[in-house]
Amino acid sequence: MTLTVFWIFGVIAMGSGLLCITRKNPIASALWLVVTLFALAALFVLLDAQFIAVLQVLVYAGAIMVLFLFVIMLLNLGRPGPTDIKGPLGLLGATVLAGALLLLLRPLGQAPLPAEIQLPPGTVAALQQQRGMVGAVATPLFDTYLVPFEIASVLLLTAIVGAVVLAKRKL
């Protein structure tokens, strides 16, 4: 069941990612990227990283993509540009580079996980038992990392003031 869902969303992510980089219209590319980000959010859920999945949808598929679309529209790039890959020579070059990349990535797929990022067995299940995975993120955030959390609001305040100062100067 989990494996089937993984394959479905993995294929969606790969397919929309390929469509994203092959579309000539930048708006179409950006919209395919939204599909990729949604599929990645589903994959994060499969990894028991529900909070990252929520962040992925809210911040990346929501806010960051709005910024991407606005930049495309501000620069008036909404029309097809010239192709990057020209002629059979370009296609050959692209094939060779893609093959080289796959060859380089192959050992990574077979390599074991380093010990530092391997959780002891049962950790995730134990955390999930308490208050779900979002709760497992929330408890240290509001307890141990209380001060960094409050400072994050100061950081956001700085960004808000900076954005207004930079954008309002010439208006």
């Binding site: 501000l74 003031v161 207004v164």
Partner: protein
């Protein structure tokens, strides 16, 4: 996996309903295109120019402010999950914590407001 079955069913039904409606209307509906019908709909007006226009840079400020306040709401999600208290964290403590966070960002909101960044002049 178990809690997400309903969600996957909803997603599947949304995809099926959407595609069925488009495909069915494509095959079953009559299609007699005229020049007027093919035109993009612009509130019944004849369309003025192309949609591929340069947009005002003022939209950019709106987008940046949206991202910043969006990140603020992201912090509300884990907070809401443990709001009823967990371990050493009590509801009152969490409430004060989030109020301080919100208050600092409210200063930013008031600043944006007073500087007139919400005004479309």
């Amino acid at each position: 996996m178990q809690p997400y079955i309903q969600f996957l069913m909803l997603l599947g039904m949304a995809v099926i309903a959407g595609t069925t409606m488009i495909v069915a209307s494509h095959f079953l509906g009559p299609r007699r295109p005229t020049e007027v019908k093919e035109r993009p709909y612009e509130s019944g007006m004849p369309p003025l120019g192309s949609a591929h226009e340069r947009f005002s840079v003022k939209f950019y400020l709106v987008a940046v402010l949206f991202i910043l306040f969006d990140i603020e709401t992201v912090f509300l999600i884990p907070w809401a999950v443990i709001f009823m208290g967990t371990g050493t964290l009590t509801t009152g403590f969490l409430l004060v914590e989030m109020l301080v966070f919100m208050l600092i960002l409210f200063v930013g909101y008031v600043y944006v407001w007073k500087r007139g960044a919400f005004q479309w002049d």
